[in-house]
């Protein structure tokens, strides 16, 4: 059985992309494979140019989100995107784009950030996630 963490990334706000990057880093550090499946707002965050400029935070936490963002900047926390890239350099982390969302938005693989490896259907993702121990929905 492969030692694997799979994540469905539905959210496209910075506060949720951080745990995605941090969980991915931890899993890679522990020698696990990581499969990330980007869909809806999660995929939108990976459109060309978006990963480096994205500043959206969950509006449910609008009282504390700006404070957290400010603290992270002050304490030089690397961006979620940098963390994800480092995790990818360090281990077997694959980023998949949801075919359905791409079709819906009229996008192609070339419209996405280069960190995205390929475009897959939900069937393939679920089949592959089934082989792993952990699947998270973020």
């Amino acid at each position: 059985m492969p030692n694997k963490l799979s994540m469905v990334v539905f959210s496209g706000t910075v506060d949720r992309l951080y745990p995605v990057a941090i969980m991915a880093s931890g899993a890679v550090a522990m020698g696990m494979d990581v499969d990330v499946f980007l869909t809806f707002y999660g995929l939108d965050a990976f459109r060309n140019g978006n990963p480096k400029t994205l500043q959206k935070m969950d509006v449910n936490y609008k009282e504390i989100a700006p404070m957290l963002a400010q603290l992270m900047q002050k304490k030089n926390v690397p961006s979620w995107y940098d963390m994800l890239q480092k995790a990818k350099e360090m281990g077997n982390l694959r980023v998949h784009a949801c075919a359905m969302t791409l079709d819906l938005m009229g996008l192609k693989k070339e419209d996405l950030d280069p960190i995205v490896d390929d475009v897959v259907g939900v069937g393939q993702f679920v089949s592959e996630a089934k082989e792993g121990e952990i699947t998270l929905f973020v």
């Binding site: 941090i22 880093s25 931890g26 550090a29 522990m30 020698g31 304490k75 690397p78 360090m90």
Partner: protein, 81 residues
């Protein structure tokens, strides 16, 4: 991160870096080192205290020491394989 000589060990100063930063620095350092070499990671992150010994054991290296300094911890690891 900053690398400098400290008692002949290779030091990765990851102070100020948050979980899992120091662990990632250690893994990077171990990958670059030769078998038998000793690496130090300096960390002020609370997760390192559990994560670094756990990873070191899992990856088959030797945790030579965990040294408390004011405001940070020095994790000393020997590459075993």
């Amino acid at each position: 991160m900053v690398m400098s000589a400290q008692e002949q060990n290779i030091v990765f100063d990851a102070r100020g870096s948050f979980c899992p930063g120091p662990l990632m620095e250690l893994i990077r350092g171990i990958r670059q080192a030769k078998v038998g070499e000793v690496i130090e990671v300096w960390s002020s992150d609370q997760g390192s205290r559990k994560d670094i010994p756990f990873w070191t054991q899992k990856a088959g290296h030797e945790l030579v020491g965990v040294l408390e300094e004011p405001g940070y911890t020095r994790f000393v690891v020997r590459k075993k394989r």
